[in-house]
Symmetry: C2
Subunit: 389 residues, 2 copies
């Protein structure tokens, strides 16, 4: 092997896509701290802090609140496979990529998905959820709070009661909402909730925070068979994170340093202030986008603050515009599946949700669109006006 | 939540336990580089380099050679669940914690383990493996090359042919050997091999390098059912790492930077030189340990170079000695399961395998043992003599 390899020196992109989001320098430098052993008493303290701070961010008192040692999709798999046994029915809401992924995981676990659908780009009608719950014997109701593929927010109010009345657990994917939108695990009766580190939490990708309440743990304790995944079996994972400190697998030490520092930033800012910041910057972006003569792809009351789906104007080449932005070191996302080529996904997440970035992306989009032949005014002033009011 | 959280500032431990191993400053600072998007063309280049360098370290031409986005135990699960379907027999060799873990995963995947055992601390007799293979219809032969719980090396020669003659795939756990001992994936007819980043590779924990050859992929393509794990389904993982670049999950960007830099260090040193370094430091440590009047827990020809199992002398409190070392910022490991309190596991892995660390740990052990009432001479001179010859 004669090829030689240079040091990899990535440029500093402004990450305004569907995630990863920009990572604060404090978090990056936390990752470069010396590595400790995974049973070192000092690392165990770090783990305790991570758990306490995650409870704050999830708004929960749940004892079992830990980062799964893999990315958000593994959190989804952990949430589902810990409770599903072969033959179990699960009501699953599908209006984008991540609902589809849930269905796939349910089937792989031997479960039977009872599907409630909405068009990609629209929220699920709760009346449809209720009738699906009542027409089956569901082990769980599983849905995505913030559908990353479409920018749609699902209102959670009432769903916990609805599920519990039918004997089902409520499982919520909060990958793109946690720490950017209120999730309120305990308040909303969510039994299992998971997220990723690389969205509104503002750490690099690599861990999946997850929380299980006692109702969910009771269900797991009453399983007849072992959880199909050894790695994601929460009863073993929690013995390492809990008082036992029983070795399970080697925790990703440096990623936990990063997560702790990102959570510390959230704690310093305050959850409510952070939500308000995400909402304000979202509103400014929308004002700018609309002033440019474009339209949002999602109805106003269903829009995520963290991820903004903008319709690609007729005749504009989605990929060319994104390419122009990337040349300026700005990343935004394209659409997936049926929305490929039809939407841009502009993320304003974590430390990336700033007035400066709203201005930056609107200005760059304005120049790129005009260069691609779509003549439009700037959206910057309309966005700025939102901050002035 | 009124508690305040300070910045976490871990001390610089000398990590001479069973892993994580010491991480070179170049690797730590690579992790702190700006995060890129997981589909950014520049990150795709980083991925290509990681794959090419992993092929070098595994000594393979296998196209499908990638880091699983989770720790080594997830690599074990990926290796097994991708090929096992319910009812499949798998010959599994058990002489420590990680063989036991394989059995557990095989059972969770619906497979039937055909167990070949040896005492903890001893290698498996290949004649027993052969007879187990011949007395069943095995889908695979699964074994641990370097048993981290005991410090035992399993000789791989002949096992590939033996497995293939019986129609079985050879699956090898090289978590604690890869980049410290020769593994020789292609040479040894290994069909699936996995490792971890935090041992001889010298990166922090968080990823699990894995490689599948065409024989293994053929088996996967002929499955009747989907792989039970969505996250670990290699046919989907490889579409992201291969030419398709199809989104699967968000790769842990910063951990891949770290892995690339750690692999670059291996490439600069050269695999053969790295193996020789691990062997030499191991020999020096053994000489020192024996000069102190202690004995190694594993027979000479079965000893790992990367992880040295030392018998705790009669009457010495294992934990107290380790506690004294940790006060000096030196971490060594204790025993697990039946070896708890009976062995120390001294890792000399990756950048931790140095003459300086051999001297350091022998000197610290000497002082700790004498302080605990076990009078013994120093082992440092005996170790130094090994380097002088």
């Amino acid at each position: 092997m004669n090829k030689s390899y240079e040091r990899f020196q990535p440029p500093k992109r402004v990450l305004l896509g569907p995630g990863p989001s920009p990572v604060d320098d404090r978090v990056l430098s936390a990752m470069a701290a010396p590595v400790l052993g995974h049973l070192d008493p000092l690392f165990l303290q770090c783990m305790d802090d991570v758990q306490a701070l995650l409870r704050y961010v999830f708004e929960t008192e749940n004892r079992v609140t830990v980062p799964i040692s893999a990315t958000g999709s593994a959190g989804m798999e952990a949430a589902l496979v810990n409770i599903i046994e072969p033959g179990d029915e699960v009501v699953v809401c599908i209006n984008g990529v991540f609902g589809e992924r849930m269905r796939d995981i349910i089937e792989r676990a031997g479960g039977t998905p009872i599907v409630v659908e909405a068009k990609w780009g629209e929220a699920i009608d709760p009346r449809k959820i209720e009738s699906a719950l009542k027409s089956s014997k569901p082990r769980a109701l599983s849905l995505v709070h913030a559908e990353t593929s479409t920018g749609v927010l699902q209102d959670l109010s009432g769903l916990g009661e609805m599920a519990h009345e039918c004997g089902a657990l409520l499982i919520v994917d909060a990958v793109t909402s946690l720490a950017g939108h209120p999730v309120g695990v305990d308040r909303n009766g969510i039994d299992i909730c998971y997220s990723g580190t690389q969205k509104c939490i503002g750490a690099p990708p690599g861990l999946s925070p997850i929380t299980f309440n006692e109702r969910a743990l009771d269900r797991i304790r009453s399983r007849k068979s072992k959880v199909q995944s050894w790695y994601l079996d929460i009863t073993m994972v929690e013995r390492y994170w809990g008082d036992d400190r029983t070795y399970h697998h080697t925790a990703p030490i440096s990623m936990n340093y990063a997560l702790r520092e990102a959570l510390r930033l959230i704690h310093e800012e305050g959850l409510e202030a952070r939500w308000a910041r995400h909402e304000l910057n979202h509103r400014a972006l929308v004002a700018g986008v609309e002033a440019m003569g474009m339209s949002m792809a999602v109805a106003p009351e269903q829009r995520l603050w963290s991820l903004n789906a903008v319709s690609v104007p007729e005749g504009v080449d989605d990929a060319k515009v994104r390419g122009r932005l990337l040349e300026e070191n700005i990343e935004i996302g394209g659409g997936l599946g049926p929305l490929k080529g039809r939407i841009w996904r502009i993320g304003l997440m974590g430390s990336g949700s700033t007035r400066e970035n709203v201005r930056l992306v609107l200005d760059a989009l304005h120049r790129a669109l005009n260069a691609e032949g779509f003549e439009c005014p700037t959206g910057v002033e309309a966005a700025e006006a939102v901050y002035e009011n």
